[in-house]
Structure formats: C-alpha cells, structure tokens
Symmetry: C2
Subunit: 243 residues, 2 copies
C-alpha cells in the first residue's frame, strides 16, 4: 500500500508521500510517489500517486512525454493556463493508460487502481489542490475540506480531522503531516520510510522546500518519541471511567 496526504492552506500547499511499494509482502522496494514539475516563476505542480505502480508510472511518463513533444496544439500540464485544465490533462493521462492497460489487467482479474493528489499553482491563479480518481475525473479541495489522503488513509485521519486548519504555517502543517504519517507507520507495515515532503509557499512559483525524511532522521525521531510521550500524558490526565 501507500500513504499520501496533502493540505491546502492560506499560505500554500504541503504534500507528503511514503515510498514503500510491494508486490506481495516479500517483495518490497522504495519508489518515490511524489513528483514535481516547475517552470521557474510560471508554474509549480506536484503529483502524489497511489495504486498499481505500473499504472502510476505510466501516467507520469505520459505527462512528461508531452513536455518533449513538439505538438504545440495539444494541452499539456506545461502549457495550460489554469490548474483546473492541468487536472484535466492528468485525468486524460489516466484514461489513456486505462485504454492501453485496462483490458489486459481486468482479463487477469486485476483491477485498474490509481488514485492521485494533484496540486500546484499557475501564475495568475491561487494555489489549487485536486483528488483525481482512476476514472480520470476529480474533485477540488475547498475551505470546508482542505486536505486529501490516498492509500492507507484511516490510521492518520483522526489527527488531521482534529488539528488541520487553513491558517497553519507551512512548517506547522509539515509537522502535522509527519504526525499523521507516524501513526500510519506504527500501525501498518505496508507504509514505509523514507517520507518525501514538499512545502510550497503561495505565489513563490518555484520549488524551494523539498525534503526526504529518512528512517534515522533526528527531527522525525524526536517528533515520533515526543508525540508518543505527549499522547500517553494526555491520556493519563483524562478522568477515568467509573464502571
């Protein structure tokens, strides 16, 4: 499995993705599930992917192939004028990969699984964040629901439900995503370190804050230990049930 989460804030966007992939439980590898593209001062886009790795890699290759193509007529994530149009391009790439691989997968009893979080900013717009489905359609984050999760999302959802707020600082939001990851990593073996993090500051239109958190990362260890201690203390301080 996979765990990816992204948060839309007043100050920008924050993305995090684990890197574990597995075919069965005894064939585990590390693949980045966070991809980003930028045209300095013009546009920044980030894609988080969950599902069948062959499918999600094909989608990304499809998107990047456009960049090298000379066909200026077709819409690509590098030439569209809004994030909505860019999300359409990503959705179209999902449908193209389905057209190529879907039938063969279904014939073998495998389902076409792909779930994407896509966000970023194009000059002239505010940052936007989308959740794109295997069918190629998508929804957009609003003030009511400012975060999206894909993959193994349940363990890390309670803390997001309680703490996520649109007015958080980027570093604070990055901390929140890592706490959400910590809960998931402890409870589910199919999600694994390292974790890729990207914090995008609104109107910056370039990627300056991207980090891979390794297993032995000092900050993450302190965060994880500190959170455990704080949770136990918080729990001890609650009144006991008289039953």
């Amino acid at each position: 499995m996979t765990y990816c989460v992204a948060l839309k804030l007043e100050r920008g966007l924050v993305f995090a993705a684990d890197t574990r992939t597995n075919a069965g439980i005894d064939n585990i590898s590390t693949f980045s599930k966070l991809h980003s593209w930028e045209q300095d001062g013009e546009r920044v886009m980030v894609l988080l992917s969950a599902g069948n790795l062959a499918i999600t890699q094909a989608i990304i290759s499809q998107l990047e192939q456009h960049q090298r193509s000379d066909n200026l007529d077709s819409a690509t994530i590098f030439n569209v004028q809004s994030m909505f149009q860019a999300a359409r391009v990503v959705g179209d790439a999902v449908r193209q990969v389905y057209a190529i691989d879907g039938k063969a997968l279904e014939a073998r009893g495998e389902s076409f699984t792909a779930s994407l979080i896509f966000g970023g900013q194009i000059k002239g717009e505010s940052p936007r964040l989308f959740h794109i489905y295997a069918e190629g359609n998508f929804i957009e984050a609003t003030d009511d629901t400012a975060f999206f999760q894909i993959g193994e999302h349940k363990y890390g959802k309670p803390i997001l439900d309680r703490v996520a707020r649109a007015d958080m600082r980027l570093g604070e939001a990055a901390k929140l995503l890592l706490v959400s990851f910590d809960s998931t990593l402890r409870s589910n073996l199919s999600v694994g370190m390292p974790v890729d993090l990207l914090a995008y500051q609104a109107d910056n239109l370039r990627i300056t804050r991207k980090k891979r958190i390794e297993q032995d990362d000092e900050y993450f260890k302190d965060l994880s230990d500190g959170w455990s201690v704080a949770l136990r203390e918080a729990f001890d301080n609650l009144p006991e049930l008289e039953i």
Copy 2:
C-alpha cells in the same frame, strides 16, 4: 460497518462495541453487538460481533438455543469446561450458519461476513480472549498482543498501539477503549453511538460492570472534548519542521 474492541488485562477483560447497523447509507438502525452470558460463580462469556447482521444474529440464536435444549451430550457454551472449548462451540455455530445461509448469499454475490471477539472466564481457568473468523477458526490473545479489534478498526488503532498495557486498571482500559472509539466516531459515519461497554474483573465470575454510553453521556462528552484539547496542545508543543 461496526467497531468492536476488547482488551485482555492482568486484572480482567474489557469489551466495547458500537450499535450502528446499516443497509445502505439511508437505512440505519441500532442493534447491540455486545452479548453476554453468565452462570453466577461459574462462568462469564462475552461476544462482540461484526459483519452481516442476519449472520451474527443467527450465530447468537444458535448458541442460545443450546441452552434450552435437553440434549446433554452436545457441547454448548454453558457446559464446556474451558474457554478454548467454548470458542470451538462458537466457531461451530459460525460453520452451521454458513452451511445454512452461505450458498444462497454467494449465489447473490454477497459474501458470508462474520467476525467475532469472544472472551470470558470459566471457573478453574484464567480469563481468555479469542478472535473468531468467518471460517469458524480462531486465534487467542497473548501477552504480546493483548487486544483484538473487528470492523472499522484502523482509525482507533494508533492510540491502542501506543497506550494499551496489560497492567492497566479496568477503568483506565475502559477509558482507552472510549478514546479509541472517539477517534473512530469522528472519522467514520458508519460507526455510531451509543457504545456498549463491559468490564469484567478476573475471578469475579459474574457480570457487574456493564454500561451503555449514550450520545449525550456527560463523561463521554468531557472525555471527547478533553482529548481534542489535549491532542492539540500536545501537537502545538512539538517542534516545528524547518523545511
């Protein structure tokens, strides 16, 4: 869905179950998923059930029918001499219901879903706790893994993973199960109040501490609010990521 959880402690056993059942999202009812039986001073047994309500009710009726039968030759949960044998009786009841209903369900594309937590004590033994599967086989809780969850278990697992300890007091463990429920209730609509709680003190051999926590229960409201505040404080006190 459903959320049920039970914890085996040095001091006894604690069980909790929600009461929401649904057929589709617009047909919601309240059914107890916590069933208990006692023979005063002789045996106490508790069963938590998740899955298809028709199946789990049939299993319970099957177990109770034994009580009224005069056939003293057959093993029932009321005449066996160990909790292991009792778990076998429950597993057999699951298999009998499968024999009756399984084919018709599968013919309509419905799967035979039933997942049970079964625990208690028979005089002469220590309290024991089992997780019984839809196939009728089961596993037992040990010191290494002292809790079982069934149904919508992921949201409430991180806090159990961090806080559950075999030397907890019963009231402390009941508090833990309610915190685990609170996370689940907030994040998943298919799990609903009221929550049934039962705390069994080892060697008591009678049920004295059983409680239904209603939506407007003062203790639960304070616990839920207190936990939210404590979590946010704990989160705020952790160092921010410099990214």
